[in-house]
Amino acid sequence: MRAAGPAGATSDLDHPEAYRLTWRDRARQRGLTPTLWLVAPGVVFMIVFFVYPLCYGVGLSLQGTGGWFSAYRDFFANRLVNDHGSRESILITLELALAASIVNVALAVPVAYRMRGTVRAKRTIMAVVLVPMTLGTVFVASAMKEFLGPSGWLNRALLHTGVVDQPLQLVGNFTGVLLSLVFTGLPFAFLLMVGYTSGIDPSLVQAAAVCGARPAQRFWLVTFPLLLPGMTITFCLSFVLAFGVFPSATLVGNDAGPTRVLSKIAYTEYSYGRYPTASAAAVVMAVVQLAVLGLVLWGRGLLHRGPTTGGKG
């Protein structure tokens, strides 16, 4: 095709086989059209202000005062943040984020499943559930601190009704932070799950019913397997949300001890101007988080992935 034609004798139109492809044609055939320039601003911005800082951060973390990996050594030797335990923070953060995302998914799935049809006041329910998402972690944490505190309404009510005879310790520990994370994370999980549940063709559940499946069987044999991929994604995104934040841990928890999360360590180091150790903590955070996500997605890969509608529908 690309053989050179008789030079100058005839035009390309008479002998299309003689037409030589320019680099432009070849680029176009591979899908590189001028329209692609549209992505340039976004790509350039993301490379300069996301990829570069990310790499820069990894580089910073290697420039500790005591040689290449000294910042990481300091981290794992608990020498960060005035010698409080930074190594334990990995476990603390993991426990908090895992617990929060499991609770979020476990609560979001049944509610979303029931919202798939036409439910009265659906819009109102959605709006109310979305409020904490808009309020953000800082507000929810500071509100929870008062509400869950020893003289807050919750403890008052529990004492008053005689459920407990001493105020529950809900602030300054794991429970308080977990509750705070659930309140901020659940709306997001719920919103995602509503998308996934309404993506399931209702006629599949009807078909299962006609085939003789009882309601519980319909859920576990049809809906649940079809929701699993969506649940995995929801779990991952909930985990990301819960893993990275520190206002809840600081305001409701106790960031000097039981709820010292990784991001707080990174921040504290940063605020002391110790950039290498701050970056090292941030990198450890990223590695742990990505490892969890990788593990979950790998597990998902073992399960079925496919369209959630029957046939072409």
Binding site: F50, G117, T118, T137, S142, G195, V245, A278
Partner: protein, 296 residues
């Protein structure tokens, strides 16, 4: 509890007494589900009420309610924290971020939705990775970078750092909106003689208005609530409301809790206005479930 939002099939229980009358389905699981939902909503409302009440309290008591009510804490809080300035900063940052984000994200989303090209997966990665990397991981080096650019404690610096998560997020929101527009509509416009610019102005633009509104409002909500990034870069002159609220809440011992809660109420009202605007413009279920369309 079941009655409030039960599916219609269960509400309209058959009135005819017949053989084998259908029992109510999933009664137990239903009660648990709706019960859980109400615990959540109740907890939320009570927590918000706590904040509201505290901000109006003259003096605390051992009982359920305070002894007296006053609004003077709002005036005091307004002066102490310079809430006017904080609000102005918050709104200014939000608007600037949304404007830049939409301008950058829309073309990117268009290309991702329409074209296949070498490097598409790489671009997708560039969009998705910011969603799964902890904010602090890039916030720390980014803040260092902003500091070196001498943009710390400036509005420009705060806008800049907020753009980093906002742009890929807006792209992800916009892609399905672009995909939803039949490419044949664009082709038809081209066949009718429209240039690229005209296709965009007269065809794509109007069709994308819902998508742009959705992306814009969601971005705004996120920027106003964005804590970690803004916190690292802002200084005393360039705080947003959340950052100031966090700062006040951390040093709770030194300030009257009524003052802090008054600020919290101002912050809450700001976000609720945003949420109401968002719900007017965007149906969250529609955003989440755009792929379900009746085929009949």
């Amino acid at each position: 509890m079941t009655g409030v939002a039960a599916p219609p099939a269960e509400e309209t229980a058959p009135t005819l007494p017949g053989p084998g009358r259908r029992p109510l389905r999933h009664t137990l699981t239903g009660a648990v589900t709706w019960g859980g939902l109400w615990v959540f909503v109740g907890g939320l409302l009570l927590a918000v009420a706590t904040v509201l009440l505290t901000s109006l309290t003259t003096q605390f008591t051992d009982g359920w309610l305070p002894r007296g009510y006053t609004t003077r804490w709002y005036a005091q809080s307004w002066a102490t924290f310079d809430l006017g300035h904080l609000l102005a900063t918050t709104v200014g940052v939000g608007v600037a971020v949304v404007a830049v984000t939409l301008a950058v994200a829309l073309p990117t989303a268009y290309v991702l939705a329409r074209l296949t090209f070498p490097g598409r997966r790489l671009l997708l990665l560039l969009i998705l990775v910011p969603q799964v990397v902890p904010v602090m991981t890039y916030a720390v080096p980014l803040a260092t970078l902003v500091y070196r650019l001498r943009l710390n404690d400036t509005l420009a610096g705060i806008v800049l750092v907020n753009l980093v998560p906002a742009i890929p997020f807006a792209v992800l929101v916009l892609v399905p909106f672009v995909e939803q527009i039949d490419p044949r509509i664009e082709q038809a416009a081209r066949v009718c003689g429209a240039t690229n610019r005209r296709v965009f102005v007269h065809v794509l633009g109007p069709l994308l208005v819902p998508g742009l509104l959705a992306a814009g409002v969601l971005t705004l909500v996120r920027v106003v609530g964005q804590f970690e990034l803004t916190f690292l870069v802002s200084g005393p002159d360039s705080q947003t409301l959340v950052v100031a609220l966090y700062g006040a809440a951390v040093q709770a011992g030194e300030l009257a809790s009524q003052e802090i809660n008054a600020m919290a109420v101002v912050y809450m009202l700001t976000t609720l206005v945003l949420l109401l605007a968002a719900l007017r413009l965007v149906d969250p279920t529609a955003v989440a479930a755009r792929d379900r369309r009746s085929r009949r």
